[in-house]
Symmetry: C2
Subunit: 213 residues, 2 copies
């Protein structure tokens, strides 16, 4: 079993490798990949041992081959269905974003508690009433969801989704979900990110600029 | 100077402490806070040395007092203006989200390249043409932005924002930004998060359920 943090970094490497390929690079050294991802090159080499692809000391890694190996590790063998729960502004933005991509992970069902949304199609994705989740999630083989409901509803909806068979939740609600240990939750926390960035922006502004009074 | 990762964790502790306060807890032990944030209790105690608030071995930390100390460290002394750039579905969702909160960080200006959006107000926030950023960003004292433009435009817009004085960017575009070293970027990467969650959901589904064939 590969540790969660390692998978997180390998997923970052993939993003950086795709950028690198788009920029026309055929090969990349571990120190270059490390610099793009903010880790050490020793870390990169250690993590990539899990991928089962070795670079050469002279030419580094072949970008295309390394990407293929990472895809094989991270991606489902066949296209996998994902659901989005909560079709508000944020949910629609995510549907539009994923709808336009040919990914192995496809959002094939949306859910909302608003009965006027059920039965409609948003950005190519069918919306169901949330009460249909118990039936639709197993029948579509859905294991992972993007959760974009209001904070006050997130825990109740998460409970219902887990009962329906969901094992992975990307949680956009600003609340910590209580889930059984077999369920993986990743929090997308806009506020915390903004706070962090703003903290450093203040410090860096002080370091690099004369005070604007 | 407190390291970036430490600030990230302290910001997570604050989130957990707010949850804890909302649940009615007056005090919390370092191991409880650690468990909520997925770190060790030794890490919590080490990080909180930067905050300048000490708990007691018998009662742990007083939640309210610890929160106040963290606020004092992380928050700006006075309310701080932030901008949002790119008023699409995602941008509007973020404006709605932040507009409803009384935070020290306030989104006081939005920018979009679409001339039909300039001059309008979205969720209480005035939208300017992107060409006005060079004037509005310094005059509003804006140091940090939420960047919600399409990937193809993100680098160009980031360049323009940095030139206008921006020092912190929460980047929602699925592209790695090249910025000078004095600019802090945090990537909100929906795809990578979903990939990671889906990877573990598959593994956990295999561990905890009979195969559905």
């Amino acid at each position: 079993m590969i540790p969660e943090r390692t998978i997180g970094r390998i997923s970052l490497y993939r993003r950086a490798l795709r950028d690198s390929l788009a920029e026309g690079s055929a090969n990349i050294y571990s120190h270059e990949l490390a610099a793009r991802c903010g880790v050490t090159s020793a870390q990169v080499r250690r993590d990539l041992m899990h991928v089962g692809y070795n670079g050469s000391p002279n030419r580094g890694y072949m970008v295309r081959e390394l990407l293929d190996s990472i895809d094989k590790l991270l991606d489902p063998q066949v296209a996998e269905n994902v659901a989005l729960v909560g079709v508000g502004n944020l949910g629609r933005a995510i549907l539009a974003y994923f709808g336009s991509r040919g990914m192995k992970l496809r959002i094939t069902a949306a859910f909302d508690k608003d009965p006027t949304k059920a039965g409609r199609v948003f950005h190519g994705c069918r919306c169901y009433g949330i009460e249909e989740a118990a039936a639709v999630i197993p029948s579509e083989g859905i294991l992972s969801v993007m959760l974009t409901v209001p904070a006050s509803e997130a825990q109740g909806v998460a409970d219902l989704l887990v009962a329906a068979g969901v094992r992975g939740i990307v949680n956009f609600a600003p609340v910590r979900l209580r889930v059984p240990p077999e369920v993986c939750v990743e929090n997308m926390d806009f506020t915390t990110s903004l706070e962090r960035v703003a903290f450093f922006a203040r410090g860096n502004a002080m370091k690099t600029e004369p005070l604007r009074l």
